[in-house]
């Protein structure tokens, strides 16, 4: 048998073929993402779910209606594409004048809804979809065996990709599309109906994802979760390629697939993380991506939300009231619930520090929560550290991870920042899945609570509650002070207008990095304490759905408000606790809340409430000075 660098040739070619197949799907999906982003400035997070919907629809057609593969190849893209048209027309169209992150949040919510609904209906396990009779079997190429279906997938995807490229770059229709991307007003003035064109583009992008889904059905297991993990890898591909060109997306997709295949042949342990490593390297040497980025369009119509600045004294009073309430809460509320909610509240507040005040919305904050949990759990269990030292170790680990990932991630902003953080978190997830000390699928169990400072026994409920309360209040107070500090003001200034801040002599990258690291450390503080309190550390805390949950808590409660994340965390944790019987419906509910938050409730609970309160209290003044109603009043400073 021929060996190549210690690997049997058949194995190597087999893995390369598998890599090409994966690459074909990366290419088709990242192509669709790039087309949609180019046209609408929306990162279509639902792209993975729409791919899954394509595969599921094909499976449904076959199972319930007896409609086979070849018809599905034609019908499914049309059906799913049509759902995309409706989605654009009635939902996404409302978002075009908002920050691009809202599009990503909304489509993330939609992905959750789709995934939850289909899991409810068909279970989460994968269903087999058989290869059509015409493509059964394969041929022996001498150096390897090539199954016919796989050859077909590669050929078909290449055809689809190149056709798309041709239409966009070489036809009149494509010229209109590209022109509308540059200047929609002008193209509209030429008599072309740009809104309809955008709608059709989105529909076509979605149809492309569904087509990929049908092609994938016989290769992978067909199931509701098949799109979620794939889309994260595709985001990494998009960051590597840069979404600057159509051909760039195609080439990068296949390239990444091949790199994965090679890694699987020579060093299989790294195969699931290699994409993210490549992304990190690209961010270091060529931050805009291999083929250049399409810059995010400037937000000319950005709406100024109210500053809602309360005086330091009011804040301190509010803080003390909260402290008293939480200290007394165990008298009426189950302490276990309170502790869980407080730790998630701290996590959400830490996230809000960077997302709300720094406008750097991370989609990967679970990596800090989870890593700190593992480290503190390991420190307490295997090294026998006292709980405060174990928590410290976890926090330090999260801070280090924050420094490293932040150093790379802040090279990009906006939606790219979101995708980069999501991808890094996925890498950490795979590391946690494989690393020896995390316990893999089982996680760390029976972590000892131990004695605080070697003295206070944390296995006593009152002591434990006090410990968690102190950590939450300490962390919250720190965040409150940072937000109100000169540093906090600089951070808010940077998020408003970074270039202007630079022109005032502020090295904005350093400020962002420190804020990001601080946010990571405080997330870690929550995660480390959670591991000691709950005595377990599992993959749940590093999974992307946890990153989604902290987003949900923060946006539901009110991003950029001090107490919003606390309120949001309590609502979400309560929903999980009391609606646990609903199973997957909770995910559907989460997704729905996301969609509603973005569409009608952007200030969140606390933001909307304080606005109402201010409008109500400013009513008499508004009669005399109409402008006064819009601007919050503040005590004159210092005198």
């Amino acid at each position: 048998m021929t060996m190549i660098l210690g690997v049997p040739a058949a194995v190597l070619f087999g893995q390369l073929l598998l890599g090409l197949i994966n690459g074909a799907f990366y290419a088709m999906l990242s192509l669709g993402l790039a087309v949609i982003f180019g046209m609408m400035n929306i990162v279509n997070f639902a792209h993975g779910a729409q791919y899954m919907l394509g595969a599921m629809t094909a499976w449904l057609l076959l199972t319930y209606l007896g409609i086979g593969y070849w018809w599905a190849l034609l019908l499914v893209p049309l059906m799913v594409g049509a759902s995309g048209l409706l989605l654009e027309r009635f939902v996404l169209r409302r978002l075009y004048r908002l920050d691009h992150l809202y599009g990503m949040l909304l489509t993330f919510g939609l992905a959750l809804v789709l995934q939850g609904l289909l899991t409810n209906a068909f279970g989460s396990s994968g269903q087999p979809y058989s290869i059509p009779a015409e493509l059964m079997g394969g041929r022996n190429l001498g150096f390897m065996f090539l199954p016919n279906y796989r050859a077909w997938v590669i050929a078909a995807s290449l055809l689809v990709c190149l056709t798309t490229w041709y239409v966009i770059e070489r036809t009149r229709l494509g010229a209109y599309l590209r022109a509308a991307t540059e200047n929609p007003m002008l193209v509209q003035a030429f008599g072309i109906r740009v809104p309809r064109m955008i709608m059709l583009t989105y529909g076509a992008g979605v149809g492309l994802a569904a087509l990929a889904g049908v092609l994938a059905a016989p290769v992978y297991q067909v199931g509701p979760t098949m799109g979620a993990d794939l889309i994260i890898v595709v985001f990494a591909v998009v960051v590597i390629g840069g979404m600057g060109s159509i051909m760039g997306s195609i080439v990068t997709g296949f390239l990444v697939g091949l790199i994965e295949g090679l890694t699987k042949a020579f060093y299989p342990e790294l195969s699931s993380t290699v994409v993210f490593v490549v992304m990190a390297v690209v961010l270091m040497v060529r931050p805009a991506g291999l083929f250049g980025s399409k810059p995010e369009q400037a937000q000319n119509h950005r709406q100024v939300l109210d500053g809602a600045s309360t005086s330091p004294r009011t804040q301190t009073i509010q803080f003390l009231v909260m402290a008293a309430l939480f200290a007394a809460a165990p008298l009426v509320v189950y302490p276990g619930f309170m502790m869980k909610a407080m730790l998630f509240a701290l996590f959400a507040c830490a996230f809000n520090l960077i997302a709300g005040y720094g406008k750097l919305v991370s989609f990967g904050h679970a990596m800090f929560l989870g890593t700190a949990g593992y480290v503190s759990g390991h420190a307490a269990k295997s090294w026998g550290l006292t709980p405060e030292l174990a928590v410290l170790a976890g926090t330090a680990a999260a801070a280090l991870l924050g420094l490293a990932s932040g150093w790379l991630a802040i090279r990009r902003s906006g939606i790219y920042f979101a995708m980069v953080t999501l991808a890094f978190a996925q890498m950490i997830y795979f590391v946690a899945l494989q690393a020896p000390f995390t316990g893999g699928e089982d996680g760390l169990q029976a972590i000892p609570r131990g004695h605080l400072f070697g003295l206070i026994d944390l296995s006593r409920p009152a002591n434990l509650y006090g410990f968690v309360l102190a950590i939450f209040l300490g962390g919250f107070y720190l965040i409150m002070r940072v937000v109100g500090s000169p540093f906090g003001l600089v951070l808010r200034g940077i998020s408003d207008h970074e270039t202007r801040a630079q022109s005032l002599g502020l090295e904005t990258e350093r400020f962002k990095l420190v804020a990001f690291t601080l946010s990571a450390a405080l997330s870690g503080l929550a995660g480390a304490t959670k591991a000691i309190t709950s005595q377990i550390a599992t993959l749940v805390d590093v999974h992307w759905s946890m990153s989604g949950e902290v987003l949900l808590m923060t946006f539901l409660g009110g991003v950029g408000t001090l107490f919003g994340p606390v309120v949001g965390a309590f609502v979400v944790v309560a929903m999980q606790n009391y609606l646990a019987a609903l199973g997957q419906w909770v995910i559907v509910l989460h997704g729905t809340i996301f969609v509603l938050c973005v569409l009608i409730f952007r200030r969140g609970i606390v933001g909307e409430a304080s606005l109402l309160l201010r409008r109500w209290s400013a009513r008499p003044a508004a009669a005399a000075h109409p402008a006064a109603a819009l601007t919050p009043h503040r005590q004159p400073a210092g005198h």
Binding site: D306, S485, F487, R500, L504, G505, L630, H639
Partner: protein, 251 residues
């Protein structure tokens, strides 16, 4: 290099995909003067400006500040040396109040920008400086309004005040009159002349009356190169300058 020059560019070029927006430009900003760069649209004025302030990096050439080579410095580093710019599209921190805009500018010179736990309102020196600026620029009555809600003219005034908060020695103003009404133009012209005392100012401006009023020297740019340079009366009378303007539309 001559230390008597506030800013100096030597064979400065910037290329965008084969197109030279600025080509081989030698330019000197004399210390203590008010100078203006004029030229038809697309002449490379804004690019030159962005190069001098390190908003974009040059493709080739060198930039000197008071005799030191600053070609490799970042915009913040240049600002720390006292070279501060304003922007064409008024750049204020929209979600901060007018007072906070000024405080933010004052933090770094006061050494407080990295204070993570203190209170902005507790810094007396900053509050006093902010008050003085609010008064001088007649922004007192909207001190607590969000900058994003100000009228366009007020935003430009606030931006000038924020820039001045840094006590810059060299001030670069990118079309300070763009979008302003006649009344505001008069006010801002007076303000610029007033703050020009003891400072070096470079402005890119389309309004010729403003340029004639303010500038000691003007530089005319056409197609990425410098066409003429000198006192306003002398340069504006030159036939080739007039041709460059009338031949390519008025400004």
């Amino acid at each position: 290099m001559d230390a008597g020059h506030a800013l100096q560019a030597k064979s400065l070029s910037r290329e965008f995909g084969g197109f030279f927006a600025v080509r081989d430009v030698d330019f000197t900003l004399h210390r203590g003067s008010i100078q203006a760069v004029i030229g038809p649209n697309g002449a490379g004025k804004s690019t030159l400006f962005n190069l001098l302030t390190k908003h974009i990096a040059p493709s080739s050439g060198e930039i000197f500040h008071e005799g030191d080579d600053v070609t490799g410095l970042s915009m913040p580093a240049l600002a720390k040396r006292g070279v501060v710019r304003s922007f064409q599209i008024s750049a204020v921190f929209a979600s901060l109040t007018v007072r906070q805009n000024l405080e933010l500018a004052l933090l770094r010179p006061a050494g407080s920008a990295w204070d993570l736990l203190g209170r902005v309102t507790g810094k007396r020196a900053i509050a006093e400086r902010a008050d003085a600026l609010l008064e001088r620029f007649e922004l007192g009555e909207c001190a607590e309004s969000l900058a994003g809600n100000l009228s366009y003219g007020r935003k430009r005034v606030l931006e000038l005040a924020t820039t001045l908060a840094l006590e810059p020695r060299v001030l670069l103003l990118d079309e300070p009159m763009a979008g302003l009404g006649r009344e505001d133009i008069g006010r801002v012209t007076d303000l610029i002349r007033e703050v020009g005392e003891g400072r070096t100012i470079l402005l890119v401006e389309h309004n010729m009356k403003v340029v004639a009023d303010l500038a000691d020297r003007i530089t005319v740019m056409v197609r990425g190169r410098i066409l003429a340079e000198g006192p306003y009366d002398e340069v504006s009378a030159r036939a080739d300058v007039v041709a460059a303007y009338t031949g390519q539309g008025h400004d």
